[in-house]
């Protein structure tokens, strides 16, 4: 039987300061299978980014186990198979003296291995991924001159250049206009057709319920994990309980929005 791509067993995490402790996650159990497009939603401070950091090994596990492709996270080394777009991608690069090409190529660093330099094949991959995201014309531009939407596409290109089988995106559409959000989801659909497993963290639940196959709803605990249809059928009371404030999903001609 095929292993889940991600298998999380009893994950708990507590942030500890000198004087106080803040629980971020409690007893999270979650399985994500190959080719799934899962949206991880929840209010601010619900532990979404903490969970992503644990999955990616940026934070150390305190309790529980995480398996990637059947391998314990502690023994998983094939990080080149994982593409990652961080929440901060949109803001931290300002002023950095690098071109779009240099930034996107850096996504191949792990796969290329130590002491090896980029060659013709790598530049071919660069051209392909820039084409895929419609940013070929920005190839030689300085990254700090791009708009928010363009910058975000550059970081998505960096995550995709290595043809990852797993894609983890932490609120990648923040600050991007509606047109580019649509383009972004079009790219995700094309990747999904190629059996790429996608884990998308987002606040934008109105949009993801129409795009993702599954929704996982987090607020310290995993309150819900099911198909997008099941999520749509959650009652107002249940959603409000998860989010901690009154909430309902409103549908507008096939599009649904999240309203307080």
């Amino acid at each position: 039987m095929e292993h889940p791509i991600f298998e999380l067993n009893n994950i708990s995490y507590i942030y500890r300061d000198k004087m106080e402790t803040t629980p971020a996650l409690k007893d999270i159990n979650l399985s994500i299978h190959k080719g799934d497009f899962v949206a991880l939603v929840g209010p601010n401070g619900s532990g979404k980014t903490t969970l992503i950091k644990l999955i990616l090994g940026v934070l150390k596990l305190q309790s529980g186990e995480i398996y990637i492709n059947g391998k314990s996270l502690r023994n998983f080394h094939a990080w080149q198979e994982v593409g990652y777009v961080s929440q901060k991608s949109n803001s931290f690069s300002k002023g950095f003296p690098a071109t779009v090409s240099e930034v996107v190529l850096s996504g191949l660093t792990k796969a290329k291995g130590l002491f090896r330099r980029f060659g013709k094949e790598d530049y071919r991959k660069l051209d392909e991924v820039l084409e895929l995201l419609n940013i070929s014309h920005l190839k030689d531009k300085n990254i700090s001159l791009l708009s928010g939407g363009q910058t975000q596409r550059v970081f998505i290109a960096r995550a995709l250049i290595n043809n990852p089988s797993i894609l983890v995106l932490d609120e990648p559409t923040v600050g991007i206009d509606a047109k580019h959000v649509k383009e972004f989801y079009d790219v995700l659909f094309r990747l999904k057709e190629q059996s790429v497993t996608i884990l998308l963290v987002t606040h934008d639940i109105g949009v993801v319920v129409d795009h993702a196959d599954e929704v996982a709803c987090l607020n310290e605990h995993l309150h819900f994990h099911g198909t997008n249809h099941e999520f749509k059928n959650l009652g107002e009371a249940e959603l409000s309980k998860i989010y901690g404030f009154p909430l309902q999903l409103v549908s507008h001609d096939h599009e649904r929005a999240c309203c307080e």
């Binding site: 990080w79 003296p97 531009k141």
Partner: protein, 283 residues
């Protein structure tokens, strides 16, 4: 000076050492500046001074000459390790490591200076650079360090770029664990190699000023490295010539030339002769 280059070994040693420093200091300085670690160079240079004074003191103590550059290199590397350790101890206040190590370096220097006698003349050369103090052993050490730095950058360029540009992503890709450690050791070596020509107090300037100048007129990382080296080499060559003819310490002239280049690039940038191109439409 060109005639003197052929006539006197010590001038030739200084010139070649200067060329090596003009190459490796801005090269490694590129990563220091963009990672916002400029002050680390200052901290390590002060620790290097502690090592040099220790070497002189040790020589006077045991009655045998020990090359202070060697003790300087050892202290510099130990200081680099200390900074790394303190950065993990003060995880949320990592910059605290710099004043702690810097004050430690100055304190050691004062201690060994007080203990060692007859060091004042040499001290001036170590603080501000000297055109006559580079020995053949120094030149060999500096050249070896130069080769180590070039190999480090050639082989680990892509890793260094990623760690500098996006430390979090580098962490996710699991390539950050030891690169930074090696980098800080290389910084310590570059400081040791450059301080004979530029002087302890000005060595960080040779690592940062050419990069600061190049940043005004370049748009890619590779261009930044190339222009930083060109500015660094120009400053060293012009500074050494001025130092020779005016009979003053090369550290001051090299840094003043670097500052003139910086002023010129800022003016060029202001008047629009800059690379960064036109603002891009959000299409």
């Amino acid at each position: 000076m060109i005639q003197a280059l052929f006539e006197y070994d010590f001038i030739r040693y200084s010139f070649i050492s200067g060329l090596v420093a003009g190459l490796i200091a801005p090269l490694i300085g590129t990563f220091i500046v963009i990672r916002r670690l400029s002050l680390i160079a200052d901290a390590l240079s002060h620790v290097t001074l502690g090592g040099i004074t220790f070497g002189v003191y040790l020589s006077s103590l045991i009655g045998m000459t020990i090359n202070p550059l060697i003790t300087g290199i050892i202290f510099s590397v130990l200081g680099a390790l200390g900074i790394e350790r303190l950065r993990t101890v003060y995880n949320h206040y990592q910059e605290l490591a710099i004043p702690i190590i810097m004050s430690f370096g100055v304190a050691l220097s004062v201690l060994f200076l007080s203990l060692a006698d007859g060091f004042n003349q040499d001290l001036f050369g170590y603080l501000f650079g000297s055109i006559s103090a580079v020995s053949s052993i120094d030149l060999i050490l500096i050249s070896v360090i130069g080769v180590i730095v070039l190999i480090f950058i050639y082989l680990l360029y892509k890793e260094m770029f990623l760690v500098s540009f996006d430390e979090e992503y580098a962490n996710v890709m699991n390539i950050n664990k030891w690169i930074h450690f090696m980098f800080i050791i290389v910084v310590a070596l570059v400081i040791s190699a450059s301080m004979r020509i530029v002087g302890i107090l000005l060595v960080s300037a040779l690592m940062t000023l050419p990069v600061a100048s190049a940043m005004r007129i370049t748009s890619s990382f590779r261009q930044l490295m190339v222009m930083s080296v060109i500015f660094g080499e120009f400053a060293v060559i012009a500074g050494l010539f001025m130092s020779f003819h005016l009979d003053i310490s090369p550290g001051g002239t090299i840094v003043l030339v670097s500052l003139a280049i910086l002023a010129a690039t800022i003016i060029l940038d202001r008047i629009g002769v800059k690379k960064r191109g036109e603002p891009i439409d959000s299409v």
